[in-house]
C-alpha cells in the first residue's frame, strides 16, 4: 500500500519534469544570438587588453581608425573611424582624417583627441600596458615608455585638430597600417576613465563607439552585448548577443547540441572525427604556426647537420592526420595566406637524407653515440599527442631516443625565458611553441628569431639574419624585393641552420547552426558579430 503511494508520487514528479521542459522550449528568437566566449575577458580596457577574448569583445564594442576587409584574401585595410589617411613619401608620417559623424554611446562626438589620449595612454608607463610595444616604432614612444624621456609632448602622436590625427614614426616600417587596426588602439574617453577609474569598463559606466554596447556583465559567467542604435555605420543585424564563458569545450559542445548555444568557437579534439562531416562543422586555417625549437647551445644540437636531420625525420602529415583538425603540415614559418609564404622552403620529410646528415655529423654505427636529449612541452592533451608522435618518429627514422618532459604552463614559459640567461643549464633541449599573427605581415613572424628577440628561445643568433629582417621591414613599397629577402631569411633559418622545425599551420574549428547567417571564419580569428544575423 505504502509502496504504491510512493511509486505514484515518484511518477507524478517525473511527469511534472517532462511537462516543465516541454513548455520551456521554442523561445528562441531571431533577435538574440547565444555565443560562447569561452573565458572571462581579463579586461575590457583597450589599453590593457593582451588576449584574444578581451580583444573579441572590444572589437565589437569599439571602433578604431581602420579595420580589415575579411572578404579580400590579402586582408585589405579599410577605413573605419578614419575616412582616409595620407602617408608621407618617406613613409614615416601617417595622417588620419576622421569622420565627423561618429558618436559615443552618450551622444558626444568621437574626435582626434580621443585617439591621442588612447594612444598616449597605452605607452604611458603608469598604465603598464603589455602591448605598449606595438607603438615602439612611433617617434620617442619607446623612450617615453621606458622612462627615458618625461615629456609626452615629444612623442610622435598628435591630434592636429578635432578630426585630424597624426603619427610620426622613427622608421618607415612596412606594417604600421596594420597596427592602426588594433582594438587596443581604439579611441578612449578621458573624462569617463578619470571619473570611474578601473571600474569604467563595467556596463553601468562604459562609453563606447562600436556596433554593440555592453549592457550586462556577470563576471566569469556571461556578458550581454546589445545593438548600438546610434552607430554611424551599417547597424548590427542582431539586437542582442548573449556571450557565455564556458571554458570546458565538451560542455560547450553539449550545450550547443542541446540548442543552448548558437556558436561555439572550439570543438573538443577527439570529437572532431565525428563531427567534421556534419554541415555545421566549420574549419579554416589561420595565420598561426606550430613549431618546435632546438636549443643550439646544447652540445647535442649544436651541429647544424643534426638539426637538419631532426627536421628531415619528421613526417608532418602523420601528425596532422592524427590530430584530424585540418591543420596544414608545413615546413616553413610564414604561414599560408601571408605575404612571403613559400611552401618550397624548409626541409621536407626524407628519412634517408636524415640518416645521412646524422652520419655527417659524426653519429651512427661505429661512430659517436647520440647523447640523451629531452623534448619539453607544456602540459596539454594535444601537445602530449604531438610529442609522443615526434618521439616515435625520431626513434623510427633516426634511431634516437628522445625523452619527453612536460611542465605546467607558467613553469614552462618561465623555463623558456630563463633559458636565455643560462642556455646550458636548462633541463631541455627541444621545446614547442606556436606563433599567432598579431597582424598579417611577415615581419611579425620573422623578427621572432632575430638575435635580440625575447621570443627567440633557440639561443641561435646571426647578424646576417638580423640585417635581412631589418631591411625587409622597411621595404613596404617594394613587396617583390621584400619577398625575396624573406625567402633568403627563411632558407637560412629553416634549411641551413634548421634552428626551428615548423610542424603545421593551425586550423581553428567552430560550429554554428545553419540558422546563423553572415558568419565566416577568417585567418585572424576575428569575430565581427555585427555582420551576423539569424533566420530561425
Amino acid at each position: 500500500m505504502k509502496l504504491k503511494k510512493i511509486f505514484t508520487l515518484l511518477l507524478s514528479v517525473l511527469c511534472l519534469f517532462s511537462l516543465t521542459f516541454c513548455s520551456k522550449k521554442a523561445k528562441l528568437s531571431n533577435d538574440t544570438l547565444y555565443f560562447n566566449l569561452e573565458t572571462e575577458p581579463p579586461t575590457l580596457d583597450p589599453s590593457k587588453a593582451a588576449d584574444t577574448t578581451s580583444s573579441l569583445v572590444i572589437e565589437n564594442t569599439m571602433d578604431g581608425l581602420t579595420d580589415y576587409d575579411f572578404s579580400t584574401p590579402d586582408l585589405k585595410i579599410i577605413p573605419k573611424v578614419a575616412k582616409s589617411w595620407k602617408i608621407t613619401h618617406s613613409g614615416s608620417v601617417y595622417t588620419f582624417y576622421l569622420r565627423d559623424d561618429v558618436y559615443w554611446t552618450d551622444g558626444k562626438k568621437v574626435t582626434a583627441p580621443d585617439f591621442e589620449y588612447s594612444w598616449k595612454r597605452i605607452i604611458d608607463p603608469k598604465t603598464a600596458s603589455e602591448y605598449a610595444y606595438f607603438l615602439f616604432d612611433v617617434k620617442n614612444a619607446q623612450a617615453f615608455n621606458e622612462g627615458k624621456i618625461k615629456n609626452i609632448a615629444d612623442v610622435g602622436i598628435k591630434a592636429l585638430d578635432d578630426f585630424t590625427f597624426q603619427v610620426t614614426l622613427t622608421k618607415p616600417v612596412a606594417y604600421f597600417l596594420h597596427i592602426s587596426t588594433f582594438p587596443d588602439l581604439s579611441p578612449l574617453r578621458k573624462d569617463i576613465i578619470e571619473k570611474y577609474g578601473d571600474a569604467w569598463t563595467e556596463p553601468e559606466h562604459i562609453i563606447t563607439n562600436g556596433p554593440f554596447k555592453l549592457t550586462h556583465w556577470k563576471h566569469d559567467y556571461q556578458l550581454i552585448l546589445e545593438r548600438n542604435d546610434n552607430y554611424y555605420g551599417a547597424k548590427a543585424k542582431l539586437k542582442k548577443i548573449i556571450c557565455f564563458m564556458i571554458v570546458e569545450a565538451s560542455t560547450a559542445l553539449s550545450l550547443y547540441q542541446t540548442k543552448k548555444l548558437d556558436i561555439i568557437r572550439q570543438v573538443p579534439p577527439l570529437d572532431i572525427p565525428h563531427l567534421k562531416n556534419t554541415p555545421e562543422y566549420r574549419s579554416g586555417n589561420y595565420l598561426s604556426t606550430y613549431y618546435i625549437g632546438l636549443n643550439t647551445k646544447k652540445e647535442a644540437l649544436s651541429n647544424a647537420y643534426v638539426r637538419r636531420a631532426f627536421s628531415a625525420a619528421i613526417n608532418r602529415t602523420e601528425i596532422t592526420d592524427m590530430l584530424q583538425k585540418g591543420d596544414i603540415p608545413t615546413s616553413t614559418l610564414i604561414p599560408q595566406g601571408m605575404l612571403g609564404h613559400n611552401p618550397s622552403i624548409g626541409i621536407p620529410f626524407n628519412p634517408t637524407q636524415a640518416k645521412e646528415w646524422m652520419k655527417k655529423a659524426g653519429y651512427g654505427e661505429g661512430k659517436k653515440t647520440f647523447p640523451p636529449i629531452t623534448l619539453l612541452f607544456n602540459t596539454s592533451e594535444t601537445h602530449k599527442t604531438i610529442a609522443e608522435s615526434l618521439q616515435s618518429q625520431w626513434k623510427r627514422n633516426l634511431g634516437i631516443e628522445v625523452r619527453l618532459d612536460n611542465q605546467e604552463w607558467k613553469v614552462y614559459t618561465n623555463s623558456l625565458q630563463s633559458s636565455h640567461k643560462e642556455p646550458l643549464k636548462t633541463s631541455f633541449d627541444i621545446f614547442r611553441l606556436g606563433w599567432n599573427a598579431d597582424y598579417p605581415d611577415p615581419d611579425n613572424f620573422m623578427s621572432l628569431f632575430t638575435s635580440y628577440s625575447d621570443n627567440n628561445h633557440t639561443q641561435w643568433g646571426s647578424k646576417t639574419f638580423d640585417k635581412i629582417v631589418e631591411k625587409a621591414k622597411l621595404m613596404g613599397n617594394n613587396p617583390q624585393k621584400r619577398v625575396e629577402l624573406y625567402n633568403q631569411a627563411q632558407k637560412m633559418l629553416l634549411e641551413e641552420e634548421a634552428v626551428i622545425i615548423p610542424l603545421y599551420i593551425y586550423a581553428h574549428q567552430s560550429m554554428w547552426r545553419n540558422e546563423v547567417k553572415g558568419a565566416k571564419l577568417n585567418p585572424l580569428d576575428r569575430w565581427s558579430l555585427d555582420e551576423f544575423w539569424l533566420e530561425r
Partner: protein, 281 residues
Amino acid sequence: MNTLWSDAFKTLSKNKPALLSLFFIIFIILVALFANLLAPYGYEIQNPSQRLMFPNRTFWMGTDILGRDLLSRVIYGSRMSISVGLIVAICSLIVGTLYGSLSGYVGGKIDNLLMRIVDILYTFPSLLLIILIRVIFGQGLFGIFLALTIVGWVDVSRIVRGQVLQLKEMAFIEAARAVGVKNRFIIFKHILPNILGPIIVTLTFEIPAAILSESFLSFIGLGLQPPFSSWGSLANDGFQAFKSFPHLIIFPGFSIFLTVLAFNLLGDGLRDALDPKLKNA
C-alpha cells in the same frame, strides 16, 4: 590479541561483499604485477592506421587517438594506479600515525601546537605545493607520491590522534604510566597495537582516496605524464570525447570504479570485523 584477529577473520569471511572485494583486489594486484605478460600489446605501440577504433576482436577495448591498444594501456595503468594508491597510503599512514599518536599521547600545549599545524596544512592551497614539488622533483612517479602524501597524511593524523586520546584514558595505559614505563615503550607496545585495527581500516580507505586524488590531478593537468599512464590519466584523456568515443572513458573509469569500490567494501568489512563493540550485534 590473537583471538581478536581470528575473530575478526571469521567475521570477515562471513561478509560476502568484503570477501569478494578482497579477491578482486588480489586479482588486480596480480594484474599489475604481471602486466607485461598479460597485456596483448605494448602500452606505447602506435598503429597510425588503427586510430580511435571501437572495441573489436583484435582490440578488446578499442584503441586511442594514437592507435594504441586500450586494453594494454588499462592493464599497464593498473600498475601506476595501484602503486600510487599503495605507496601514498602507506607513506601517509606512517607519517600520520607517528604524528597523530605523538600529538595525542603527549597532549597539552604540544598537542595544541601540532594540531594547529595540521589546521594550517588542512587549509593550505595544496595545488601550489603540488606544482612546486613537481617542479623540484620532476614529472616522474616520485613527485606524485610525495605530493599526494603531503596532502594525505593530515587526515590520518587526525584519526590516529582521536584514537590515542581515547586509549590514553584507559586503565592499563594509565597504570603503565603510573608505574613509570617509558613513553616510547607505551606508544609502541601498548598504543600502536591497540589502534592497529583502525589503522588498517584507514589504510583501506586511503588507498582508493589516493587513486582518486591522482585522477583529479590528471584532470587539472598535473597527474602522471607520459610515458606513465594511470587509469586516472586514461579516463581524463577520454573525458574530452565521452560522447563520441565513450569506450575511452568507460574502460579506465570502470577499472577505477571497481577497484575503489572493492577497497571501500573491504574497509567497511574490516571495520565491522575489527570493532569489538559490534561482536554481539
